[in-house]
Amino acid sequence: MKTEPLVLGIETSCDETGVGVVRGHTLLADEVASSVEEHARFGGVVPEVASRAHFEAMVPTVQRALDTAGITLADVDAIAVTAGPGLAGALLVGVAAAKAYALAAGKPIYGVNHLAAHVAVDTLEHGPLPEPAIALLVSGGHSSLLQVDDLAGRVEPLGATIDDAAGEAFDKVARLLGLPFPGGPPIDRAARDGQIVIPFPRGLSAARDLVEHRFDFSFSGLKTAVARWVEARQRAGEPVPVNDVAASFQEAVCDVLTNKAVDACLDRGVRTLVIGGGVAANSRIRALAQERCDKHGITLRVPRPKLCTDNGAMVAALGAHLVAAGAAPGALGLPTDSAMPITVVTA
């Protein structure tokens, strides 16, 4: 078993065609081709548009990653690919390509869980993950709290959103405020010039909700509350303080996410919190999580923003971890699973 396996990782679960190369915990290449601009006018990711873009970008992006890493396919110890969860048609492009590369080069293939890969990517920046760890994964498609007992195979879901994902709420509120898609970065920027003055609701945080949904999230009510607040202003003929709405909305999201993540650490007696996913690139969630973790003596690990959003390096990182742990590779017939549960780290 190699301690520093060289792995090529392919990610196509949403709108980023990501190909990364990792040796052990060392990042050698992280190439991403995004179709986000093609989705902007639709206000969200259009699956077929994303799938077409993955097809076109696949071979060039793999070549760029190999060139950047200064390796050839023959050098790698394994190929890892996101098998789920994600958009079915988009996943299939990456998985079919990965199988062809594995078959052609005679390499083992690992079909891995996208969410587990968001956790694994942190090892590229902060080294091996202390286990157990609590992981908060927040993106346009996911909002989950996990307990990671063993990144190579034992991950327990603690909670998840019961409606919209956190990133989805950012997108919808951005649209409401006339800000571009994806909504995360423009809201983050607007919030810097705003005040946290509007008391938007904290979903599933009331005592009665905590009984059954202590570690779950809800952002649908928040989105509606923001819409009602903005419309009331508009109907009264008053200007909408976009920066204040952005800051107050962002605070409501980040408050609930970090509160519940820290609560999970305290409840489970776990001393490490990892945050990943596109929303982890938000400056306020990073600051608030740091503040709250410091207060409770919890070590916070958040990868740099480029590694938080979807990429191939995270898939390669998880693949390298699996190879080093001696996990069995998948078959060439491995399926995609758009609803792959987090309890399955590798298919």
């Binding site: 077409r52 079919a96 990965a98 062809a100 078959a331 060439l332």
Partner: protein, 221 residues
Amino acid sequence: MVVDSSTPAVTAALVRVEDPELPGAGDPQVTVLAERVTVDGRAHGELLAPQIQAVLAEGGAAPGDLAAVVAGTGPGPFTGLRAGMVTAAALGHALDIPVYGVCSLDGIGHGQPGRLLVATDARRKEVYWAVYSGGVRVDGPAVDKPAAVSVEVDAAAGDGADRYAEVFGLPLLPPRYPSARALAALAADRVRAKAPGETLTPRYLRRPDAVAPGERKPALP
């Protein structure tokens, strides 16, 4: 290696393309050494790579022995079509061998006598279709409702022609799905000439289903 996933027939075949200049070259000059076809419209991604592996094994070949990849470029339902085409593209890339695209409907119409309508199932009560005269495509490919396909032909072939046989009212000929041998024959000149490979372009024929959002519904009553 021939790959086609434009129809429910997930197809992989190991084919020998002989050089007619060489002494002892056989006739026909395209020989199918091993072939796997599985009819399952929902499992292209699972079936194809194992089938490629199986035909290589049966033909006693290693991936490195391949000289070219021939891919059916559709038209066909998007998701399945892409599975085969990205497989072909990645195989060619990994092995540093050329990839040649062939219209999948030609894999049905190639070499057929007379005037022939080739139609495959495009779902949504439509067909992908093309017309052949003496085995050569003279119209299409296009996608339409069967009743809107108005062509002068003697017969029809393909799973779409079968499915909508009552609409077309034409004698039905085989094959039902693209033939790997025909696809290889159509690319044989390029294979023999060691022509530069191509960047494959799927024949989608339809735009993605996507509509720009309308006015947001108000949250207040």
